[in-house]
């Protein structure tokens, strides 16, 4: 195990440990999904992790092509899947379908949520939605340099406690905080860090009643699914992929096989 701080000698800093896109990865230990709002530097984080060169720009929605890449750390191989940047996971658009379904059905070992530290409130919206789906996540608080310039201070420990997941400050453009991020990913993936994701009920009694009714019914038929609340909510939104998973009974396994691939 390498030293988590001041990590100049981390394996990730050695180019030979980076697996480039397009090279078939014969053995992958962990799958890491990269989610986040547009224009938060998600592509830069992706490039830093994988050593690839995806185009970035100061413009929301600039990244249009999806990418996969990989790296290895502490003798484990990680596959990184860059999900489309979205503001939310609750509406019907192709990008959101892809991101939502990958996190739910693809069951990545860790979902890294890249958030803009200067607009935390806006970014927490997506974070909370992701935490409804998965319980293994890391919040990468990017653009910390900009936050500092704007005199924004964030109580990281408090935030981490509230969300129940690790919170890592980074400045991806300056390549700051990457070793810590890789470390946190490893801890969550290997189960050293057990997340307790925040899941809060809505304030509408009518909605809560509807969700509870559905969850009860779902639990009878599909016991043991950790995120039934989310499944119930998506059913109320008429999500076709969930409806399909119920019809085919594959919801019970939540197997990655029913989500064949990210590419359309």
């Amino acid at each position: 195990m390498s030293n988590p701080t001041g990590c100049e000698n981390c394996p990730v800093h050695h180019k030979e440990h980076l697996i480039r896109m397009g090279i078939a990865m014969d053995r992958v230990d962990y799958v890491v999904a990269l989610a986040g709002n547009p224009n938060t530097g998600k592509s830069t984080v992706f490039n830093n992790l994988t050593g690839l060169r995806q185009h970035t720009g100061n413009w929301p929605g600039k990244t249009v092509t999806r990418a996969e890449g990989g790296y290895s750390y502490a003798e484990k191989r990680y596959k990184v899947v860059d999900l489309p940047g979205t503001y939310s996971l609750l509406s019907t658009s192709t990008d959101e379908d892809v991101a939502r379904n990958f996190i739910l059905f693809g069951r990545p070992d860790v979902t890294v949520i890249v958030a803009d530290a200067t607009r935390l409130e806006r970014n927490l919206n997506l974070t909370l939605q992701i935490l409804e789906i998965t319980d293994r996540a890391v919040l990468c608080l990017n653009l910390m340099d900009e936050a500092k310039r704007n005199h924004i201070e964030i109580d990281l420990r408090n935030l981490s406690k509230d969300l129940g997941i690790p919170v890592i400050p980074t400045a991806a453009r300056q390549k700051e905080g990457m070793p810590e991020l890789i470390q946190a990913i490893e801890e969550v993936a290997s189960g050293k860090y057990v997340c307790k994701p925040r899941r809060k009920k809505s304030k509408s009694p009518k909605l809560n009643h509807a969700i509870d009714t559905l969850v009860k019914k779902l639990a009878e038929q599909f016991p043991g699914i950790p995120n039934l609340n989310w499944v119930a909510l998506r059913l109320l939104e008429g999500d076709e992929s969930i409806i399909d998973a119920i019809r085919t009974g594959e919801l019970g396994t939540l197997s990655p096989s029913i989500f064949p691939s990210l590419t359309p």
């Binding site: 224009n39 060169r53 185009h55 720009g57 100061n58 413009w59 929301p60 929605g61 600039k62 249009v64 939310s88 609750l90 200067t118 935390l120 409130e121 806006r122 927490l124 919206n125 974070t127 909370l128 939605q129 900009e146 704007n150 005199h151 924004i152 201070e153 964030i154 109580d155 990281l156 408090n158 935030l159 509230d162 969300l163 453009r173 925040r198 809060k200 809505s202 304030k203 509408s204 009518k206 909605l207 509807a210 009714t213 559905l214 019914k217 779902l218 038929q221 909510l233 059913l235 109320l236 939104e237 008429g238 409806i243 399909d244 119920i246 019809r247 085919t248 009974g249």
Partner: protein, 477 residues
């Protein structure tokens, strides 16, 4: 879905969900989002401490200036003018250098080498006079402006200025039924229409994006600028007193570019009111924070990207065109080349539009690249008129080193001031080059919109040329 028979229990869940949804009524999606935002806001308040109001800092100060009523537009025009000026003045020298290298030095050497090893004429014709020359032409004309224009644009984008341009221009584009960001894709079209079409990805509203794609061709791309300048210098500059020639011909080229912007707006308006009326539309424009651009990295990646793009285009699109051009000029049927047959047949048709058979053929076989239209026109004119002592031989595209040389050839081909004006109009208003057509298909995944984008400008071009010509003839008698 149809293959599995749903069990009763599944149906029970789905039907329960449906009944619950009917009970929840129409607004419940909003309720969910509202409650998540509320929680996010609560969490943010607990952990974020803000000293002062960030909006009052640096960004807002810049925004107040670049979007101000008085300074907003002048700053924009100055910056864009600077980008264009740097492109035009900076591209001249490397373009000449590349042309000299590829066409002046390597080409004769290749020909000599081919002859010395006894290559059959048809093979060296197809490979060197056709394929190689077309590629060389496209690379030397297109690469330098692309490699200067786009990195500069990318720098402005990285800094965060471009969204402000869209913000300022939206009022105008809204009236044309379009999106403010179309101001940017239109500007990029001046560099390259295919790049402009790709850039429409930043327009996140389906209708406005289609409008921007279809009208991008009205931006005069860098493959067409040299044609405009050459023809304006010969025919428009030549029609006025010598001391006015420079300014009048430059004015004519600018007028054509402005006319293109006018067509862009007018056609946008027409599309939004007619065939695109039913497409969904959604407007919002984020003004991201200003960020110091990473100049060297941006220049480097942008340069590599553009070079790869130009080479790809030259090889995939220009190379086959070069072969076709050589073949039509060198395959003979009944003693005349295919090109001459076509020119004779289409000449009366061309004259109705103030053009001629040579121009029509040149635009058909040079679809892949606007850059080779003038070399093709010159070659075909020589072929048709049988001029002696000019050019490189049948089917070999060439450019003369002097404007007078070009003028002599064109006048010999029967060109007049009217032909010149119509060629300028037609060069602005004709189908996009095949790279752009291909890009449009890739971006829209739709044959329908690709066909509309291809044929709308050409129909418009023919209509405009027709009326210009006939009214001109009516007036001049």
């Amino acid at each position: 879905m149809e293959s599995t028979i749903p069990t009763n229990k599944d149906n029970e869940i789905l039907s329960l969900a449906n009944n619950l949804r009917w009970d929840l009524g129409v607004n419940f999606h909003d309720t969910i989002i509202e409650s998540i935002y509320e929680d996010a806001s609560h969490l943010a308040k607990r952990s974020v401490h803000q000293e002062g109001d960030p909006a009052k800092h640096f960004d807002l100060k810049i925004d107040r200036i670049v979007t101000s009523r008085w300074l907003g537009f002048p700053i924009m025009f100055l910056l864009l003018a600077l980008v264009f000026w740097l492109t035009v003045s900076g591209a001249n020298y490397p373009s000449g250098l590349l042309a000299d290298l590829f066409i002046g030095k390597i080409y004769p050497w290749l020909k000599g080498a081919a002859a010395s090893i006894g290559t059959p004429t048809w093979l060296s014709g197809v490979a060197i006079d056709g394929a190689y020359l077309a590629v060389a032409w496209v690379v030397s004309v297109m690469l330098p402006p692309m490699a200067i224009f786009f990195p500069l644009f990318t720098l402005l984008e990285d800094f965060g200025y471009l969204p402000r341009v869209a913000f300022n221009m939206d009022n105008l584009f809204r009236k044309a039924g379009a999106h403010g960001k179309q101001a940017l894709t239109l500007s990029m079209g001046f560099g390259c229409n295919a790049a402009g079409v790709i850039a429409t990805r930043v327009i996140d509203s389906p209708r406005e994006r289609l409008i921007a794609i279809i009208t991008n061709n009205f931006s005069l791309c860098n493959g067409r600028w040299p044609t405009q300048i050459l023809i304006a210098t010969i025919f428009i500059g030549g029609a006025v007193p010598a001391y006015l020639a420079g300014i009048v011909s430059a004015g004519a080229v600018v007028a054509i570019a402005v006319l293109g912007i006018g067509f862009s707006l007018a056609v946008s308006w027409g599309l939004s009111k007619s065939i695109l009326r039913g497409e969904a539309s959604a407007f919002s424009l984020e003004l991201p924070p200003y960020r110091p651009p990473r100049i060297l990295q941006t220049l480097y990646t942008s340069l590599i990207d553009r070079t790869i793009f130009v080479l790809w285009r030259a090889i995939v699109f220009a190379l086959p065109a070069g072969i076709v051009i050589w073949l039509v000029a060198n395959i003979h049927v009944n003693g005349l080349s295919i090109a001459e047959h076509f020119i004779r047949w289409s000449n009366p048709f061309g004259l109705v539009f103030g053009l001629n058979g040579v121009i029509i053929l040149a635009y058909i076989i040079a679809i892949p690249a606007n850059e080779i239209v003038i070399p093709t026109v010159l070659m075909l004119t020589v072929l048709q008129t049988g001029l002696q002592g000019v050019g490189e031989g049948a089917g070999v595209m060439f450019d003369t080193t002097s404007i007078q040389g070009t003028e002599t050839i064109l006048r010999a081909g029967g060109w007049t001031l009217l032909t010149g004006i119509n060629l300028m109009l037609f060069s602005l208003l004709h189908n996009p080059c095949s790279t752009t057509i291909y890009t449009i298909f890739k971006e829209t995944h739709s044959w329908k919109w690709t066909l509309v984008s291809t044929f709308l400008p050409i129909v418009l071009g023919l209509v405009v040329c027709f009326f210009t010509t006939q009214i001109w003839l009516l007036i001049t008698g």
